[in-house]
Symmetry: C2
Subunit: 212 residues, 2 copies
């Protein structure tokens, strides 16, 4: 078995792994135990060669001519992505988007435990969403002193974002899932920012509409 060298794998490959994981989970749920790279190619709309190359990065999942073992591959990719290692997560900002994440996003399936939500608005503080009672921002500091926070999800208004990030970094938070469409300025190299920027995405779509 090839030894996994995690850090040598390119970001582009890593970015494709979640798609593979979702697809493998779907196939598993459909009762499919083995699949050829050609079959996966059709399901994933990626070239068979590309799939074989990506999987090569993580050792052997299949035997030549026998296809890929879905259960094994799913467990391995899930492990690489760390879904079996739980991390603690809080949400800052419970407007529509924060509410949608609290209500519907399957944090557990992705290896996160959503433990608290904070907002500044009196109309939201104290309400309960999916079993989480929204706390006032004034309690954030005390909360951080008594709980581990691995990730803060940011759905705050743009004007407030920088101050909140600075505060959270002071409180020891080292990873952010950022929905604010704000470019958070360069922070310490040990702070991780994962941005979901709606505007970037729709501008990319617009470019493709005009040029494809």
């Amino acid at each position: 078995m090839t030894i996994l060298k995690k850090n040598s794998v390119s970001d582009a490959v890593i970015r494709r792994l979640p798609r593979y994981l979702h697809k493998l989970t779907e196939l598993y749920e459909r009762g499919i135990e083995n699949a050829s790279s050609n079959f996966l190619m059709e399901e994933l709309n990626i070239s068979a060669t590309g799939i074989r190359q990506d999987f090569c990065n993580f050792g052997e999942f299949g035997q030549r001519g026998c296809g890929y073992n879905i259960t094994k591959m799913r467990a391995r990719i899930g492990h690489i992505l760390g879904i079996d290692e739980e991390r603690h997560l809080i949400i800052i900002g419970v407007d529509d988007l924060g509410h949608a994440l609290l209500q519907n996003f399957p944090f557990e399936q992705n290896g996160f435990r959503l433990e608290a939500a904070f907002d500044i608005s009196q109309s939201v503080v104290g309400t309960s969403v999916h079993g989480i009672t929204v706390k006032p921002m004034t309690e954030l500091e005390r909360y951080a002193q008594h709980h581990e926070i691995d990730v803060a999800v940011l759905t705050t208004p743009q004007v407030a974002t920088q101050d909140i990030v600075t505060k959270l970094i002071e409180l020891g938070v080292r990873a952010f899932w950022n929905f604010t469409n704000v470019e958070v300025p360069s922070v310490d190299s040990d702070v991780l920012l994962e941005n979901i920027n709606f505007a970037d995405s729709i501008l990319h779509l617009k470019y493709r509409i005009l040029n494809d």
Copy 2:
């Protein structure tokens, strides 16, 4: 002036343009007229060489030693991304996320006109969000016959997504902004899908937390 060859530009460069546009808009609003690549580098947290190479793809924005003209560059990048060419957009699904987009997303700034919203739920149909009255899904077909739909935004439940996409393609829609976390199977090559997949993003963050 170098002639712009849009289609020869790599997707990675195109994906960076919206960030440049946001930053240039911010600088413009701060009254800055010229900027060196070193200054832009600090603001954007990208190497000065990288910035120069990206901008080379789109012709000259500056004079050697004089930095970049912010207004010109902003107009040019905005034009490349098509924010000055309006397209018609509808939203399918007005749950929390659809509501957040209707209420807060600046479609106009990105060259889109949000013209209608549809939902299946009686509790939402007929309500008005940001001046848009939510229509029932049963009206979709008639709407499409009388209005141009360039993009459909999908915030529908996963189980419903494939049928809705099939229906919309039949009705002539050729671009989708997909928030459903569903892999829409391969469609005609003339149909564009831009996916915002929250699960892919948080799994990528998890990988970085465990490996960086």
